[in-house]
Protein backbone atom coordinates (compact mmCIF):
# COMPACT_ATOMS: atom_id res chain seq x y z
CA UNK A 1 0.00 0.00 0.00
CA UNK A 2 2.86 2.33 0.85
CA UNK A 3 4.43 1.71 -2.54
CA UNK A 4 1.16 2.64 -4.22
CA UNK A 5 0.97 5.83 -2.18
CA UNK A 6 4.50 6.67 -3.27
CA UNK A 7 3.62 5.92 -6.91
CA UNK A 8 0.55 8.17 -6.65
CA UNK A 9 2.64 10.94 -5.10
CA UNK A 10 5.31 10.72 -7.79
CA UNK A 11 2.74 10.84 -10.62
CA UNK A 12 0.81 13.76 -9.14
CA UNK A 13 3.92 15.77 -8.18
CA UNK A 14 5.15 15.21 -11.74
CA UNK A 15 1.86 16.62 -12.99
CA UNK A 16 2.19 19.60 -10.61
CA UNK A 17 5.70 20.38 -11.87
CA UNK A 18 4.48 20.08 -15.47
CA UNK A 19 1.71 22.61 -14.70
CA UNK A 20 4.19 24.96 -13.04
CA UNK A 21 6.54 24.82 -16.04
CA UNK A 22 3.67 25.15 -18.49
CA UNK A 23 2.30 28.27 -16.81
CA UNK A 24 5.65 29.75 -15.80
CA UNK A 25 7.21 29.69 -19.26
CA UNK A 26 4.85 32.18 -20.98
CA UNK A 27 4.87 34.35 -17.84
CA UNK A 28 8.67 34.56 -17.90
CA UNK A 29 8.65 35.21 -21.64
CA UNK A 30 6.11 38.03 -21.32
CA UNK A 31 7.77 39.61 -18.26
CA UNK A 32 10.16 41.84 -20.27
CA UNK A 33 7.17 43.09 -22.26
CA UNK A 34 5.33 44.08 -19.09
CA UNK A 35 8.44 45.61 -17.50
CA UNK A 36 10.04 47.54 -20.35
CA UNK A 37 7.62 48.08 -23.20
CA UNK A 38 4.06 48.56 -22.07
CA UNK A 39 3.44 49.95 -18.62
CA UNK A 40 -0.31 50.49 -19.12
CA UNK A 41 -1.90 47.06 -19.11
CA UNK A 42 -5.23 46.76 -20.91
CA UNK A 43 -8.20 45.10 -19.11
CA UNK A 44 -7.71 42.01 -21.27
CA UNK A 45 -4.02 41.97 -20.42
CA UNK A 46 -4.80 42.28 -16.71
CA UNK A 47 -7.34 39.43 -16.88
CA UNK A 48 -4.68 37.34 -18.61
CA UNK A 49 -2.12 38.23 -15.94
CA UNK A 50 -4.59 37.46 -13.14
CA UNK A 51 -5.35 34.05 -14.62
CA UNK A 52 -1.62 33.31 -14.79
CA UNK A 53 -1.22 34.14 -11.11
CA UNK A 54 -4.12 31.83 -10.19
CA UNK A 55 -2.75 29.01 -12.35
CA UNK A 56 0.66 29.29 -10.64
CA UNK A 57 -1.00 29.42 -7.20
CA UNK A 58 -3.01 26.29 -8.06
CA UNK A 59 0.07 24.36 -9.24
CA UNK A 60 2.03 25.42 -6.12
CA UNK A 61 -0.92 24.38 -3.90
CA UNK A 62 -1.05 20.91 -5.51
CA UNK A 63 2.72 20.41 -5.11
CA UNK A 64 2.63 21.70 -1.51
CA UNK A 65 -0.32 19.43 -0.65
CA UNK A 66 1.50 16.41 -2.09
CA UNK A 67 4.79 17.17 -0.34
CA UNK A 68 3.49 18.11 3.10
CA UNK A 69 -0.05 16.69 3.29
CA UNK A 70 0.55 13.63 1.15
CA UNK A 71 -1.69 11.25 3.10
CA UNK A 72 -4.66 13.50 2.56
CA UNK A 73 -4.88 12.88 -1.18
CA UNK A 74 -2.93 9.67 -1.77
CA UNK A 75 -4.75 7.86 1.03
CA UNK A 76 -8.09 8.52 -0.64
CA UNK A 77 -6.81 7.45 -4.05
CA UNK A 78 -5.19 4.22 -2.87
CA UNK A 79 -8.23 3.29 -0.78
CA UNK A 80 -8.79 1.64 2.57
CA UNK A 81 -6.59 -1.17 3.88
CA UNK A 82 -9.63 -3.44 3.88
CA UNK A 83 -9.82 -3.16 0.12
CA UNK A 84 -6.34 -4.69 -0.17
CA UNK A 85 -7.76 -8.06 0.87
CA UNK A 86 -9.64 -8.16 -2.38
CA UNK A 87 -7.72 -9.71 -5.28
CA UNK A 88 -8.64 -6.95 -7.68
CA UNK A 89 -8.10 -4.06 -5.27
CA UNK A 90 -5.79 -2.38 -7.81
CA UNK A 91 -8.62 -2.04 -10.33
CA UNK A 92 -10.53 0.82 -8.57
CA UNK A 93 -7.16 2.33 -7.58
CA UNK A 94 -6.06 2.57 -11.22
CA UNK A 95 -9.33 4.18 -12.32
CA UNK A 96 -9.37 6.51 -9.30
CA UNK A 97 -5.80 7.64 -9.96
CA UNK A 98 -6.66 8.37 -13.60
CA UNK A 99 -9.76 10.28 -12.52
CA UNK A 100 -7.84 12.41 -9.99
CA UNK A 101 -5.07 13.00 -12.54
CA UNK A 102 -7.68 14.23 -15.05
CA UNK A 103 -9.45 16.28 -12.36
CA UNK A 104 -6.24 18.14 -11.45
CA UNK A 105 -5.66 18.85 -15.17
CA UNK A 106 -9.27 20.00 -15.70
CA UNK A 107 -9.05 22.43 -12.79
CA UNK A 108 -5.69 23.68 -14.02
CA UNK A 109 -7.32 24.48 -17.37
CA UNK A 110 -10.53 25.93 -16.01
CA UNK A 111 -9.53 27.95 -12.90
CA UNK A 112 -7.54 30.63 -14.79
CA UNK A 113 -10.34 30.95 -17.35
CA UNK A 114 -13.00 31.32 -14.65
CA UNK A 115 -10.90 33.98 -12.92
CA UNK A 116 -10.54 35.98 -16.12
CA UNK A 117 -14.29 35.56 -16.90
CA UNK A 118 -15.26 36.79 -13.42
CA UNK A 119 -12.88 39.73 -13.74
CA UNK A 120 -14.13 40.65 -17.21
CA UNK A 121 -17.81 40.24 -16.25
CA UNK A 122 -17.77 41.88 -12.84
CA UNK A 123 -15.04 44.51 -13.04
CA UNK A 124 -14.04 45.41 -16.58
CA UNK A 125 -17.53 45.22 -18.13
CA UNK A 126 -19.01 47.40 -15.33
CA UNK A 127 -16.32 49.97 -15.88
CA UNK A 128 -17.23 49.91 -19.55
CA UNK A 129 -13.72 48.86 -20.57
CA UNK A 130 -15.00 45.69 -22.24
CA UNK A 131 -18.44 45.18 -23.84
CA UNK A 132 -20.65 42.93 -21.69
CA UNK A 133 -21.55 40.82 -24.72
CA UNK A 134 -17.92 39.76 -25.11
CA UNK A 135 -18.61 36.39 -23.51
CA UNK A 136 -21.29 34.13 -24.94
CA UNK A 137 -23.56 32.10 -22.65
CA UNK A 138 -22.23 28.80 -24.05
CA UNK A 139 -18.71 29.92 -23.10
CA UNK A 140 -19.70 30.59 -19.50
CA UNK A 141 -21.87 27.45 -19.14
CA UNK A 142 -19.13 25.24 -20.58
CA UNK A 143 -16.61 26.59 -18.04
CA UNK A 144 -19.08 25.97 -15.20
CA UNK A 145 -19.59 22.39 -16.43
CA UNK A 146 -15.82 21.91 -16.75
CA UNK A 147 -15.37 23.20 -13.20
CA UNK A 148 -18.02 20.81 -11.87
CA UNK A 149 -16.48 17.91 -13.81
CA UNK A 150 -13.01 18.82 -12.53
CA UNK A 151 -14.19 18.82 -8.91
CA UNK A 152 -16.03 15.51 -9.42
CA UNK A 153 -12.94 13.91 -10.99
CA UNK A 154 -10.69 15.32 -8.27
CA UNK A 155 -12.95 13.65 -5.69
CA UNK A 156 -12.16 10.35 -7.43
CA UNK A 157 -15.39 10.16 -9.49
CA UNK A 158 -16.78 7.42 -7.19
CA UNK A 159 -19.87 6.54 -9.25
CA UNK A 160 -18.01 6.52 -12.52
CA UNK A 161 -15.12 4.44 -11.11
CA UNK A 162 -17.62 1.93 -9.70
CA UNK A 163 -19.34 1.73 -13.10
CA UNK A 164 -16.02 1.31 -14.95
CA UNK A 165 -14.87 -1.44 -12.56
CA UNK A 166 -18.19 -3.26 -12.96
CA UNK A 167 -17.98 -3.04 -16.76
CA UNK A 168 -14.34 -4.16 -16.77
CA UNK A 169 -15.18 -7.20 -14.65
CA UNK A 170 -18.16 -7.96 -16.88
CA UNK A 171 -15.88 -7.94 -19.90
CA UNK A 172 -13.44 -10.22 -18.12
CA UNK A 173 -16.17 -12.70 -17.28
CA UNK A 174 -17.41 -13.04 -20.84
CA UNK A 175 -15.79 -16.42 -21.81
CA UNK A 176 -17.13 -18.13 -18.69
CA UNK A 177 -20.60 -16.84 -19.37
CA UNK A 178 -20.29 -17.92 -23.00
CA UNK A 179 -19.28 -21.37 -21.80
CA UNK A 180 -22.31 -21.50 -19.54
CA UNK A 181 -24.66 -20.29 -22.25
CA UNK A 182 -23.42 -22.60 -25.02
CA UNK A 183 -22.58 -25.60 -22.88
CA UNK A 184 -19.32 -25.99 -24.80
CA UNK A 185 -15.81 -25.53 -23.51
CA UNK A 186 -14.27 -22.30 -24.72
CA UNK A 187 -10.56 -22.68 -25.23
CA UNK A 188 -8.52 -19.91 -23.62
Amino acid sequence: MDDLKKLTRIILIGLGIYMLVEVGRPLLLSLPYFLFYDTSISPFGFAYFLSFIFAIAYAVLIIYALFYKANLLTGKIVGAEAEALNQIWWLPFAFRLTAVFSGILYLYWVIPSIVSIVYVRLVAARQGAIPAAWLTWSHVVSYIILLALGIYLLCGAPHFVRWQVRKTLEQCKEPAELEKATGKEVSS
Binding site: A94, F95, T98, S138, L169
Partner: protein, 191 residues
Protein backbone atom coordinates in the same frame (compact mmCIF):
# COMPACT_ATOMS: atom_id res chain seq x y z
CA UNK B 1 0.90 -12.10 -24.33
CA UNK B 2 3.46 -10.55 -22.00
CA UNK B 3 2.91 -7.43 -19.94
CA UNK B 4 5.60 -5.61 -21.91
CA UNK B 5 3.81 -6.45 -25.15
CA UNK B 6 0.58 -5.11 -23.66
CA UNK B 7 2.38 -1.91 -22.62
CA UNK B 8 3.72 -1.47 -26.14
CA UNK B 9 0.24 -2.05 -27.61
CA UNK B 10 -1.29 0.49 -25.23
CA UNK B 11 1.35 3.10 -26.09
CA UNK B 12 0.73 2.62 -29.80
CA UNK B 13 -3.04 2.77 -29.30
CA UNK B 14 -2.77 6.10 -27.41
CA UNK B 15 -0.59 7.45 -30.22
CA UNK B 16 -3.16 6.21 -32.73
CA UNK B 17 -6.01 7.98 -30.93
CA UNK B 18 -4.17 11.31 -30.85
CA UNK B 19 -3.09 11.01 -34.50
CA UNK B 20 -6.74 10.32 -35.38
CA UNK B 21 -7.66 13.46 -33.47
CA UNK B 22 -5.00 15.39 -35.40
CA UNK B 23 -6.44 14.02 -38.64
CA UNK B 24 -9.89 15.28 -37.64
CA UNK B 25 -8.52 18.71 -36.75
CA UNK B 26 -6.79 19.05 -40.12
CA UNK B 27 -9.98 18.19 -42.03
CA UNK B 28 -10.81 21.89 -41.87
CA UNK B 29 -7.66 22.72 -43.81
CA UNK B 30 -9.10 22.64 -47.37
CA UNK B 31 -11.74 25.23 -46.52
CA UNK B 32 -9.11 27.46 -44.90
CA UNK B 33 -6.84 27.19 -47.94
CA UNK B 34 -9.60 27.97 -50.43
CA UNK B 35 -11.03 30.87 -48.43
CA UNK B 36 -10.85 33.99 -50.60
CA UNK B 37 -9.33 32.08 -53.51
CA UNK B 38 -12.37 30.56 -55.17
CA UNK B 39 -10.47 29.90 -58.42
CA UNK B 40 -7.75 27.81 -56.84
CA UNK B 41 -9.67 24.86 -55.46
CA UNK B 42 -8.07 21.80 -57.03
CA UNK B 43 -4.50 22.57 -55.94
CA UNK B 44 -5.15 23.12 -52.21
CA UNK B 45 -7.58 20.19 -52.20
CA UNK B 46 -4.95 17.83 -53.62
CA UNK B 47 -2.29 19.14 -51.24
CA UNK B 48 -4.60 18.60 -48.27
CA UNK B 49 -5.59 15.10 -49.34
CA UNK B 50 -1.90 14.33 -49.84
CA UNK B 51 -1.01 15.54 -46.34
CA UNK B 52 -4.04 14.01 -44.61
CA UNK B 53 -3.76 10.56 -46.17
CA UNK B 54 -0.52 9.64 -44.33
CA UNK B 55 -2.08 10.74 -41.01
CA UNK B 56 -5.16 8.61 -41.65
CA UNK B 57 -3.06 5.58 -42.68
CA UNK B 58 -0.81 6.00 -39.63
CA UNK B 59 -3.79 6.21 -37.26
CA UNK B 60 -5.34 3.09 -38.84
CA UNK B 61 -2.01 1.24 -38.63
CA UNK B 62 -1.44 2.16 -34.97
CA UNK B 63 -4.99 1.39 -33.87
CA UNK B 64 -5.65 -1.81 -35.80
CA UNK B 65 -2.44 -3.25 -37.25
CA UNK B 66 0.24 -2.52 -34.68
CA UNK B 67 0.96 -6.11 -33.59
CA UNK B 68 4.23 -6.44 -35.50
CA UNK B 69 5.48 -3.06 -34.38
CA UNK B 70 4.62 -3.85 -30.74
CA UNK B 71 6.48 -7.16 -31.03
CA UNK B 72 9.52 -5.36 -32.43
CA UNK B 73 9.31 -2.76 -29.65
CA UNK B 74 9.36 -5.45 -26.99
CA UNK B 75 12.21 -7.33 -28.66
CA UNK B 76 13.33 -10.58 -27.10
CA UNK B 77 10.96 -11.85 -24.41
CA UNK B 78 13.54 -14.04 -22.71
CA UNK B 79 14.34 -11.53 -20.01
CA UNK B 80 10.79 -10.63 -19.10
CA UNK B 81 8.14 -13.13 -20.04
CA UNK B 82 5.54 -12.37 -17.40
CA UNK B 83 2.13 -13.01 -18.87
CA UNK B 84 -0.67 -10.51 -18.82
CA UNK B 85 -3.97 -12.01 -17.75
CA UNK B 86 -7.29 -11.06 -19.34
CA UNK B 87 -8.07 -8.60 -16.57
CA UNK B 88 -4.79 -6.78 -17.24
CA UNK B 89 -5.59 -6.46 -20.93
CA UNK B 90 -9.17 -5.28 -20.41
CA UNK B 91 -8.19 -2.83 -17.66
CA UNK B 92 -5.19 -1.54 -19.60
CA UNK B 93 -7.22 -0.75 -22.68
CA UNK B 94 -10.22 0.66 -20.81
CA UNK B 95 -8.03 2.81 -18.58
CA UNK B 96 -5.97 4.32 -21.39
CA UNK B 97 -9.06 4.92 -23.49
CA UNK B 98 -10.76 6.60 -20.49
CA UNK B 99 -7.78 8.91 -20.00
CA UNK B 100 -7.65 9.80 -23.71
CA UNK B 101 -11.42 10.39 -23.69
CA UNK B 102 -11.35 12.67 -20.66
CA UNK B 103 -8.60 14.77 -22.25
CA UNK B 104 -10.39 14.92 -25.62
CA UNK B 105 -13.84 15.69 -24.24
CA UNK B 106 -12.54 18.69 -22.26
CA UNK B 107 -12.22 20.49 -25.61
CA UNK B 108 -15.74 19.51 -26.69
CA UNK B 109 -17.72 20.70 -23.67
CA UNK B 110 -18.65 24.03 -25.28
CA UNK B 111 -19.83 22.24 -28.41
CA UNK B 112 -21.95 19.87 -26.30
CA UNK B 113 -23.47 22.85 -24.49
CA UNK B 114 -24.36 24.38 -27.85
CA UNK B 115 -25.89 21.06 -28.96
CA UNK B 116 -28.00 21.01 -25.78
CA UNK B 117 -29.10 24.58 -26.54
CA UNK B 118 -30.00 23.60 -30.09
CA UNK B 119 -32.05 20.64 -28.86
CA UNK B 120 -34.14 23.16 -26.89
CA UNK B 121 -34.67 25.72 -29.67
CA UNK B 122 -34.30 23.33 -32.64
CA UNK B 123 -37.93 22.07 -32.79
CA UNK B 124 -39.23 25.65 -33.02
CA UNK B 125 -36.87 26.40 -35.89
CA UNK B 126 -37.90 23.22 -37.71
CA UNK B 127 -41.61 24.00 -37.25
CA UNK B 128 -40.97 27.48 -38.67
CA UNK B 129 -39.22 25.87 -41.63
CA UNK B 130 -42.12 23.53 -42.35
CA UNK B 131 -45.11 25.83 -41.75
CA UNK B 132 -43.83 29.31 -42.53
CA UNK B 133 -41.16 28.38 -45.13
CA UNK B 134 -38.71 30.38 -43.08
CA UNK B 135 -35.14 29.15 -42.96
CA UNK B 136 -33.32 30.36 -39.89
CA UNK B 137 -29.80 31.75 -40.25
CA UNK B 138 -28.65 28.89 -38.02
CA UNK B 139 -29.03 26.58 -41.02
CA UNK B 140 -27.44 28.91 -43.54
CA UNK B 141 -23.93 27.62 -43.17
CA UNK B 142 -21.16 27.63 -45.72
CA UNK B 143 -19.01 24.63 -46.60
CA UNK B 144 -16.42 25.67 -44.04
CA UNK B 145 -18.95 25.85 -41.20
CA UNK B 146 -20.52 22.50 -42.12
CA UNK B 147 -17.05 20.94 -42.18
CA UNK B 148 -16.23 22.43 -38.78
CA UNK B 149 -19.55 21.12 -37.43
CA UNK B 150 -18.72 17.67 -38.79
CA UNK B 151 -15.27 17.77 -37.13
CA UNK B 152 -16.79 18.92 -33.82
CA UNK B 153 -19.40 16.14 -33.91
CA UNK B 154 -16.73 13.53 -34.68
CA UNK B 155 -14.50 14.81 -31.86
CA UNK B 156 -17.34 14.85 -29.32
CA UNK B 157 -18.54 11.36 -30.30
CA UNK B 158 -14.97 10.03 -30.17
CA UNK B 159 -14.46 11.62 -26.71
CA UNK B 160 -17.69 10.16 -25.30
CA UNK B 161 -16.97 6.71 -26.76
CA UNK B 162 -13.46 6.76 -25.26
CA UNK B 163 -14.71 7.87 -21.83
CA UNK B 164 -17.13 4.94 -21.86
CA UNK B 165 -14.14 2.62 -22.26
CA UNK B 166 -14.54 1.69 -25.97
CA UNK B 167 -16.16 -1.70 -25.19
CA UNK B 168 -16.28 -2.87 -28.84
CA UNK B 169 -12.67 -1.94 -29.49
CA UNK B 170 -11.51 -3.70 -26.29
CA UNK B 171 -13.53 -6.80 -27.15
CA UNK B 172 -12.08 -6.82 -30.65
CA UNK B 173 -8.53 -6.39 -29.29
CA UNK B 174 -9.01 -9.31 -26.89
CA UNK B 175 -10.36 -11.52 -29.65
CA UNK B 176 -7.45 -10.57 -31.87
CA UNK B 177 -4.82 -11.02 -29.17
CA UNK B 178 -6.24 -14.44 -28.43
CA UNK B 179 -5.90 -15.60 -31.99
CA UNK B 180 -2.66 -13.83 -32.88
CA UNK B 181 0.49 -15.88 -32.66
CA UNK B 182 2.83 -15.33 -29.75
CA UNK B 183 6.58 -15.01 -29.92
CA UNK B 184 7.97 -18.52 -30.23
CA UNK B 185 10.27 -18.36 -27.21
CA UNK B 186 7.41 -17.85 -24.75
CA UNK B 187 5.86 -21.13 -23.71
CA UNK B 188 3.14 -20.24 -21.27
CA UNK B 189 0.13 -18.57 -22.84
CA UNK B 190 -2.41 -16.95 -20.58
CA UNK B 191 -4.52 -15.09 -23.06
Amino acid sequence: MTKMYLLAKLTLTILGVFILLDFLSYLELPSRLTKGYSDAVVGPFLVTVGSLAPLCILAYYLLFKSDNLARKMVGSTNEDSRDASRIWVVTGFRLTMFLCGVLIISGSIEFLVRVAGFVIVGPRLIINMIFYKYIDTAFRLGFREWLRLFVDVCRAVLGIYLVLGTPHFVRWQIRKLKTCSRPKNVENQTL
